[in-house]
Symmetry: C2
Subunit: 129 residues, 2 copies
Amino acid sequence: MSVATASPPLSIADAAQATGLTPHTLRYYERDGLMLEPIERASSGHRRYTEQDLGWIVMLTRLRGTGMPIREVRAYAELCRAGDGNEAQRLALLHAHRERVLAQLAAVQENLEAIEYKIGLYEGRVGSP
Amino acid sequence: MSVATASPPLSIADAAQATGLTPHTLRYYERDGLMLEPIERASSGHRRYTEQDLGWIVMLTRLRGTGMPIREVRAYAELCRAGDGNEAQRLALLHAHRERVLAQLAAVQENLEAIEYKIGLYEGRVGSP
DNA sequence: CCTTGACTTCGAGCCCACTCGAAGCACCAT
DNA sequence: ATGGTGCTTCGAGTGGGCTCGAAGTCAAGG
């Protein structure tokens, strides 16, 4: 059994620190239905982030970081929340996202090449008298 | 001499068609100082886009498509407008942009890999009973 | 002549994703 | 007890990048 590391829940400030988001953003995500479930509270009412919470935040940050809109992250979260039985839907959502990201990557790379060509022109011109 | 293809200037609708932007966006870009110079007008006051104009629009679309903010495109346009003598500055601007784009590409690719790993998990689970 | 339709300008509106501020409560150290 | 810090909620504000609508003008076709 892995009882070794039962790390204690984190305050919102620590969770922000750990995820690279701000406390404001963490609250906003929760309000907006992006979390799998409402974050647990201490008796004081303060949020307590578990390791699972952090793991999910990392995933959603990756989704956001690849350009998935908030509303689609929410849709994905809702599927996960709904429990077993909709894995195919989740998979379809992730697949569709993957295709979009690949297309986007290809487009950016093509544009970048054209820009690098332009840079080459400038370097040629700048290097010569 | 290449006198062969002296293509006539285009209406804003045709230029929009040709560049994949909307007429609204083309006017907005011009208003916002993103064009190298004000677009020529027909006697009616209607814009007439030349091939040079289209070429520049393609370039600026590539800059935008790689995430360069409007204000920086404007800065680049201003440098170009200023004429010779600031090639080093333009180059520096493009170089800086290139670095940002490469960093961004790397980040997106890393995130995408993690998402693909997740997809792999779902496919494994979905494939089995 | 008169309509049609593509254009013009100007300013406002919209969407997205945060980002912030105000007012209030809870705990902890002095 | 008291001040400080760190949280809470709520709602409003910001910035970027378009996007749109209204009102007017012009050239061509019927």
